[in-house]
């Protein structure tokens, strides 16, 4: 897991500072959250099929929105969930724009291309690499909801949080994860 989902976002408290100081303190807090959540949220955005530059831009928008959200004194409850939820919605919007512009549309990263220029590490066997590539190929072939559920779970979100991000029921999250994990298990037994 990239990080522990049980970590509280209140690890970055903002003191009751005077109004004049709040923006700079808030900026520091936002950047600290950015450092912490950038990799997990980017991985989630890439699972939408966004190109890395587009995903980075979505991420910037998400954290600017978070800045406005906190500056307006709004809820600090589960900021991690908030960030994933807004990232999800922004990714849908970004992908829609990208689809309208065929030249900018990109598919999911092709693992075979991605890994072609990297030789196996000394400690990593060819069989292990092939197994990893087979797993990722299975994931790429999953229906989008199952793929996004798996991606959010891999980033440490609980079922309730996944349901909120994707706007689906808890039962749908459980069923979706069961299907995708069953496929992963079967692919390892081949």
């Amino acid at each position: 897991m990239a990080f522990d989902a049980s970590d509280s976002m209140t690890a970055f408290p903002i003191a009751e500072a005077d109004a004049a100081n709040r923006p700079s303190r808030l900026e520091d807090e936002i950047v600290a959250l950015f450092d912490r959540l950038r990799a997990p949220v980017l991985r989630y955005l890439l699972s939408f099929g966004l190109a890395v530059p587009d995903a980075e831009e979505v991420l910037q928008d998400v954290f600017l929105s978070l800045f406005r959200h906190l500056r307006e004194g709004k809820s600090r409850t589960n900021l991690q969930g908030w960030v994933f939820r807004v990232a999800h919605n922004c990714a849908l919007k970004c992908r829609l724009r990208a689809r309208r512009d065929a030249e900018r549309f990109s598919h999911l990263p092709d693992v075979s291309d991605v890994t072609a220029d990297r030789g196996p590490g000394p400690e990593e066997s060819m069989a292990a690499r092939q197994r990893q590539q087979r797993l990722l190929a299975v994931v790429r072939a999953l229906p989008e909801q199952e793929r996004l559920c798996l991606s959010l779970r891999a980033e440490g979100l609980r079922y309730r949080e996944i349901a909120e991000v994707l706007g689906i029921s808890l039962g749908s999250v459980a069923a979706s994860l069961e299907k995708s994990l069953s496929r992963l298990v079967r692919s390892e037994q081949v």
């Binding site: 897991m1 990239a2 109004a19 923006p23 700079s24 808030l26 900026e27 936002i30 950047v31 950015f34 450092d35 950038r38 990799a39 991985r43 890439l46 890395v52 980075e56 991420l59 910037q60 954290f63 600017l64 929105s65 800045f67 406005r68 307006e72 807004v86 919605n89 922004c90 849908l92 919007k93 829609l96 990263p109 991605v114 890994t115 990297r118 197994r131 990893q132 797993l135 990722l136 994931v139 798996l150 779970r153 891999a154 609980r158 079922y159 706007g167 689906i168 029921s169 749908s172 459980a174 069923a175 994860l177 069961e178 994990l181 069953s182 992963l184 298990v185 692919s187 390892e188 037994q189």
Partner: protein
């Protein structure tokens, strides 16, 4: 688990692996795993697949992530820029400044801003703020959606307390609230909920007003129930950009 000695279902294994079981069921499943070698072997296989997937995923993505320094510096610059500007609500709410201006000058500025705001709304059309109103749906089947025609479905009245929450979220003060209708982003007859995440204030006066949006909702309902558009796409398109959806499904110039 219906029977004490029955093997665990695939879903129970996944729920147990993810710590999503609670209470008595959790205790039953754990007790079964202690005694049943077959289910324990299945659990280990599942855990192994999860571990392999996480390793593969991290290895694949992490090696493609550019260094954080550049994006972090960009974010810092944008935050500094944002901090230096007065607070505004993107879309259509009124700017809010923390600097107290003398009364007369403030009124002049306010009137000017209102004029600009109004022209912006008319030019681009009012849209909800994604962070506040991303759109939210409830589980609904196609049969339920199509049980009645769109015109026969009456959207539930929105309680005054919820309306006030919506206006507060958008920074709309009570004197202006009469200029807006609190509207569902995804209409209930397409599965939209009554949550504040699916409600937004829509100006009465704009060209892209609630009546125009009603046309889109009826059109989407017809397309979905006619098998020409799937429900999820209809929900998604109206939530992401209802004006673009109107142009696509109703027509570019129909709202004029």
């Amino acid at each position: 688990m219906q029977f004490k000695n029955a093997h665990l279902s695939e879903q129970e294994l996944v729920l147990a692996a993810d710590g999503e079981l609670t209470g008595r069921r959790k205790a039953e499943v754990n007790a079964h795993l202690e005694t049943c070698w077959q289910c324990r072997e299945r659990m280990q296989t599942l855990q192994s697949a999860i571990a392999d997937f996480v390793r593969a995923r991290n290895r694949d993505f992490n090696e493609h992530l550019p260094p954080a320094a550049g994006p972090r510096a960009l974010l810092r610059a944008r935050l500094a820029e944002l901090s230096a500007t007065p607070r505004t609500w993107p879309g259509f709410a009124l700017p809010v400044t923390r600097i107290a201006l003398p009364g007369a000058a403030f009124l002049v500025v306010l009137v000017a801003i209102l004029a600009i705001f109004q022209s912006t709304v008319n030019a681009e059309g009012p849209k909800p703020r994604l962070a506040i109103t991303p759109g939210e749906t409830r589980p609904i089947t196609l049969n339920e959606v199509c049980l009645n025609s769109s015109a026969q479905v009456i959207s539930p009245d929105i309680p005054e307390s919820v309306r006030r929450q919506v206006f507060a979220a958008y920074g709309i003060k009570s004197p202006q609230s009469g200029q807006f209708e609190v509207d569902y982003l995804i209409t209930p007859d397409l599965g939209g909920t009554e949550s504040i995440r699916n409600l937004w204030p829509q100006p009465y006066s704009a060209r892209w007003n609630a009546r125009v949006k009603d046309q889109l909702e009826q059109r989407l309902h017809t397309l979905v129930c006619g098998g020409k558009l799937d429900l999820a796409t209809a929900q998604h398109d109206i939530a992401v950009d209802w004006i673009a959806a109107y142009k696509r499904y109703v027509g570019e110039n129909s709202a004029r």
